[in-house]
């Protein structure tokens, strides 16, 4: 009657005997349960030891892999840093300019006007396009170093002209005093041209353009639909491009076309300093 209790006193699995159940059966089942538990414990311990061993081995392998990858990435990292270093060198060089300069950041769709490293004004850019000359579908040799060099001696074409004040007591507004054309160009040395197009934006579009710097796609196209330049502007651009391409001695090697809102394009046109410099970031 007391075998079970006597054999396994410390486990205290049962505080009181179970009435009519056969003793032997109860004891066997207890033994089975205990065996299963012990086996489970042993298996668990073994598994934990194994996992620790496997884990440490895996960690060692991962560390070695990371080290190998880090070594493999070194040339790439060095190149990236060298590029960054070159960009910073150009920014510093630009900041030493005696007058205001321009910096175009196509990735952020912004054109910055800076003076000695200080941001004077920024213009949201709607699109950035690169135009290369061609004759009868055959591309002409064009300048491919334009991205990584400071563009020098920019001159605005047509030159901004101050309109004479009419005999009125009220002076003209800036946009009346120096009216800006729908398209103007800034001609730099070595035949590089920054062509500025302007489009009319409604308030919602203008707000979207001003606020969504982070949403602007990297290729330089801002979110939202904007009115494209007018037909006459297109024809005029086409004609000037055609004439420039067939000119015996070409003055241009590349046109970088940016599109700004009417207001911004006008403000830029009026504020452009003589012999301006430009950096493409």
């Amino acid at each position: 009657m007391r075998i079970g209790h006597a054999r396994l006193p410390v486990l205290n699995l049962e505080s009181k005997p179970e009435g009519d159940r056969p003793l032997m059966k109860t004891t066997r089942s207890r033994i089975r349960v205990l065996t299963a538990l012990a086996a489970g414990l042993l298996l668990g311990a073994a598994a934990s030891v194994e996992s620790t061993l496997v884990g440490s081995a895996a960690a060692g392998t991962a560390a070695a892999k990371t080290a190998r990858e880090a070594s493999a990435d070194l040339p790439e990292r060095a190149e990236q840093l060298a590029r960054e270093s070159e960009r910073l060198r150009r920014e510093l060089e630009l900041s030493e300019s005696p007058g205001p300069v321009l910096a175009l950041d196509p990735a952020r769709s912004r054109l910055y006007m800076k003076f000695q490293g200080v941001l004077l004004r920024e213009f949201p850019v709607i699109s950035v396009e690169v135009g290369r000359p061609r004759i009868f579908f055959l591309p002409e040799p064009s300048d491919e170093t334009w991205r990584w060099r400071i563009w020098e001696d920019g001159v605005c074409v047509p030159e901004p002209k101050v309109r004479a004040q009419a005999d009125s007591l009220i002076p003209l507004l800036p946009e009346e005093r120096v009216p800006a054309p729908r398209t103007f160009r800034v001609r730099f040395a070595e035949g590089r041209v920054l062509e500025v197009h302007s489009v009319e934006l409604d308030d919602v579009e203008a707000a979207a353009l001003g606020d969504t710097v982070e949403d602007i796609e990297v290729d330089g196209t801002a979110a939202g639909n904007f009115e494209s330049p007018g037909m006459m502007a297109r024809i005029s651009d086409f004609g000037s491009g055609l004439l420039e391409a067939v000119r015996p001695v070409r003055r241009e090697s590349l046109r970088l076309r940016i599109t700004l809102s009417n207001e911004d394009a006008g403000a830029l046109y009026r504020a452009l300093p003589p012999s301006v410099r430009l950096l493409i970031r």
């Binding site: 840093l81 920014e91 002076p171 800036p174 391409a245 009026r270």
Partner: protein
């Protein structure tokens, strides 16, 4: 002879259809050639000029790394990182730490900034660009707002204007001999910030005319923006004019 004449006459009369056919053939050839020329011209025009593509960023080519071993590469990376940090510090130091003012004199806008942050944007009025000549003395003045960097030299509350000679010449009045006849109160607004050489940032009695180029070189601001600028800009604050 008769036959010849007949023949000759016959040529003229008997073959009118042939002549028309020839003329028509020539006209057709001309039309085809003309069409081809137009087509070639159109092709030339459409394939000539500038071809624009959306800008795509490309990695700048870098000079081939001279480092060959891993150790050399690590040294190069260390040097480049240090150089870039120094360049970024130098660029960062160019931006004033405190408040500063930017004036776009061609578009008559003023910004009050702190670091890269714009605190205030306001309409202002800058120099008219007009020239005034005093016929008696031959002296002339051009009313342009200067460009470049200036610093606030001093600040005045309820400023009094000491009228320069041109103010009297412009009004057609004689230039006063007594200094006390030059002072005028209340025309410069609540505050004035001195930028040197007689140029000020000050208020105006005619806020409706802000945004237009009409001053004698000073920068005029409305009452509320002027209060903010006065409160933020102490002596030595940089003012960038472009």
């Amino acid at each position: 002879m008769m036959r010849w004449n007949d023949h000759a006459f016959g040529t003229a009369t008997a073959l009118p259809g042939v002549g028309r056919t020839r003329r028509a053939g020539r006209a057709n050839r001309r039309a085809v050639l003309g069409g081809l020329a137009v087509l070639c011209g159109a092709l030339f025009v459409s394939g000539t000029g500038y071809r624009f593509e959306t800008y795509r960023a490309l990695d700048e080519p870098v000079a081939e790394a001279t480092a060959t071993s891993e150790a050399e590469l690590r040294t190069l990376i260390g040097e480049l990182e240090s150089r870039n940090r120094a360049a970024e510090r130098r660029l960062g130091r160019l931006v004033p730490a405190g408040a500063y003012v930017v004036v776009d004199r061609t578009n008559n806008r003023l910004w009050l900034k702190k670091g890269e942050r714009t605190v205030l944007e306001a309409l202002c009025s800058t120099g008219s660009g007009k020239q005034l000549v005093h016929e008696e003395s031959g002296q002339s003045w051009r009313f342009d707002t200067p460009t470049g960097v200036r610093r606030v030299r001093g600040r005045v509350e309820k400023p009094t204007w000491r009228k320069p000679d041109w103010a009297f010449v412009e009004e057609g009045q004689p230039i006063p001999r007594r200094e006390k006849d030059r002072f005028e109160n209340g025309v410069l607004g609540e505050y004035a910030l001195d930028l040197g050489d007689g140029y000020l940032i000050h208020g105006t009695l005619y806020e409706g005319l802000l945004g237009r180029s009409l001053t004698h070189g000073c920068v005029r601001l409305g009452r509320d923006p002027l209060r903010e600028v006065y409160a933020a800009c102490g002596s030595g604050t940089p003012v960038y004019l472009f």
